[in-house]
């Protein structure tokens, strides 16, 4: 089973430039600069059907193709390494283990869109990754992979590391651009999309780390190879993860479309002794719960959507039978209420309200009317009613918890306490 992104990564080690080159690193860059026009790189990525691994799953090649190629002035590329979706720990692996894979992917992407300046937007918490990337950038500059006239060709690229200062909102691409401009990380109105008017008003592509790491491999081996890695129509491998009360929590690069059951049982080693599976968020905090009935769902963009959720980041958080679903969702809504940027009213006002209601339920003060209020919020804060995707994302676990774990909510109301004896902060 091929695992192109991670098979070269050794636990606790980071591949330096020499090691990366010895494994065939920067050959894709040579190939593209010598044999391919920028548009051909974009066409290849489009043909591969690579879909963004940050959560939204938009076609990467399509995204690039919206960049106007004949405009004057700078264009920018940003690697979104602000991994902050609760339950998600996949990009950390790629950043710490193989920084040059990301850098090569970024140079190829910049070449495709003819960007001259690029940034790695890294979250503050990834201290080790910051060190590793700083070293890798200086190696890449020294070797002539970055800077002026890369490999003697008529293409130049600067690459900078930007470390953030917190806030989940920075992961939203337009808020990220505001943050890079030194502003508060509030989202921007779309359109115009960043591909047309992004950083400092210039065409900009923002791609997730995992997405960018695939680019050298697709350039080397082609679109058909990439498709063949997958079990389904959504091409490639995917880094999946499992956390919660399982025997072996972790992350694995597997063919796109492995089932939830395989992840849970074959890779995560099943539930811990004494715990039973009740449900899981398939792709981070802002995805709808799936339950035991969905365990045979292939984990790709299409099938998870058909089951009523989203693949998201592909990193699953498990709810066991001894953890209170109301407390679980309270924890999530606490996070979302705290991380709301406060820019639009439904999100700023509605999220703290849901958090308070869930807290009241946990404390035994909840009423039937509260359940109606919660239900109402899932519509009021749903898609189309807020400025960005934060609040609709926050409503996904809530609406599905109300659907699948209704009896638990009712029990909190009727027994006037949390039947699990869990506490919330």
């Amino acid at each position: 089973m091929e695992a192109p992104l991670t098979s070269d990564i050794q636990p606790g080690l980071s591949l330096d430039l020499r090691a990366y080159e010895a494994l065939g690193g920067y050959q894709a860059l040579r190939k593209a600069l010598q044999q391919m026009a920028p548009q051909e790189v974009t066409a290849l990525i489009k043909e591969s059907n690579l879909r963004g691994r940050g959560g939204a799953g938009f076609s990467t090649g399509m995204k690039w193709s919206f960049v106007p190629m004949n405009v004057k002035g700078p264009k920018y590329l940003v690697a979104n390494a602000d991994e902050m979706e609760p339950g998600t720990f996949k990009d950390r692996w790629l950043l710490e283990g193989n920084p040059h894979q990301l850098i090569e992917g970024m140079i190829l992407t910049a070449y495709a869109i003819q960007a001259t300046t690029s940034f790695v937007f890294l979250r503050w918490a990834y201290k080790e990754a910051a060190q590793v990337i700083r070293k890798a950038l200086s190696e890449a500059y020294a070797a002539g992979y970055l800077g002026n006239n890369i490999l003697g060709k008529d293409f130049s690229l600067e690459m900078h590391l930007h470390t953030g200062v917190g806030r989940y909102m920075c992961g939203e691409e337009t808020a990220l651009l505001n943050s890079l401009e030194g502003k508060r990380a509030v989202p921007r109105a779309k359109p115009p999309f960043p591909q047309i008017s992004g950083l400092f008003g210039h065409p900009t592509i923002v791609n997730n780390v995992e997405t960018l790491c695939f680019i050298p491999h697709i350039v080397n081996k082609g679109a058909a190879w990439f498709q063949s890695l997958s079990r389904t129509g959504d091409g490639g491998t995917k880094i999946y993860g499992v956390s919660g009360r399982v025997n072996k929590p972790g992350a694995w690069e597997l063919p796109m479309g492995v089932t939830m059951r395989e992840l849970l049982e074959d890779y995560a080693g099943g539930m811990q002794n004494g715990y039973r599976f009740r449900g899981a968020l398939p792709g981070g905090a802002s995805t709808d719960f799936l339950t035991a009935d969905h365990l045979d769902t292939p984990m790709d963009f299409t099938a998870v959507a058909a089951a009523g959720s989203r693949l998201g980041t592909g990193t699953m958080v498990v709810l066991d039978d001894q953890t209170c679903p109301v407390g679980f969702v309270h924890n999530l809504e606490h996070f979302f209420a705290q991380e709301s940027c406060g820019f639009c009213t439904p999100c700023r006002e509605g999220l703290p309200w849901t958090e308070k209601i869930l807290y009241a339920l946990e404390q035994g003060h909840g009423t039937e009317e509260d359940l109606v209020q919660l239900e109402m919020h899932t519509h009021l804060l749903g898609p189309g009613n807020t400025f960005c995707a934060l609040a609709p994302g926050a409503m996904e676990p809530l609406q599905s918890a109300l659907k699948y774990f209704r009896e638990d909510f009712e029990q909190h109301v009727h027994e006037k306490k949390c039947p699990y004896g869990n506490h919330t902060h």
């Binding site: 339950g87 998600t88 201290k127 400092f200 956390s243 905090a285 990193t315 996070f335 940027c341």
Partner: protein
């Protein structure tokens, strides 16, 4: 007053950006690195250097949770309170820390050694529960090993 070191570091950042304002987050980081936190006076000095109003600088400074606008201790403990850590026993970690340090979230120990803060997901959910002290990440925590960890910090 900002030190000469701070000013020259900020001026270096100013050369990297197309407009002065774009360097404000870097400027705040530079000041915090020297002083552990950013005071009202520092905000005004940064504003003067970048041609912004103090309020404008503060609107950025107060937006980001890792720019500290109040004094903090010699070491800052950031406890992950997000979902995977919560499922895996965060409550116990929080309780143990508060008992050992005799402070609540947002407070600093009287000897100025530790400030205790909750923090969103640290991205190490397969080793939950987790926390960070300054630049150091601690994972797979249980109530028992926390005392030992704190002992490493003077």
């Amino acid at each position: 007053m900002l030190t000469q070191t701070e000013i020259s570091k900020i001026e270096h950042e100013l050369q990297q950006v197309p407009v002065k304002k774009a360097a404000v987050i870097e400027a705040l980081k530079i000041v915090q690195q020297q002083r552990r936190w950013v005071s009202d006076e520092n905000v005004e000095d940064i504003a003067a250097l970048l041609g912004m109003s103090a309020d404008e600088v503060d609107s950025v400074a107060t937006f980001y949770n890792l720019i500290f606008r109040q004094p903090v201790g010699r070491h800052v403990i950031l406890v992950c309170d997000s979902i995977s850590c919560w499922v895996m026993g965060y409550e116990n970690i929080r309780k143990t820390l508060m008992e050992l340090l005799q402070i609540k979230y947002g407070q600093t120990t009287p000897d100025g050694r530790f400030t205790l803060l909750p923090n969103a997901c640290l991205g190490t959910c397969d080793h939950a529960p987790a926390l960070m002290i300054d630049e150091d990440l601690y994972r797979d925590l249980n109530g028992k090993n926390i005392g030992e960890i704190l002992d490493k910090y003077e």
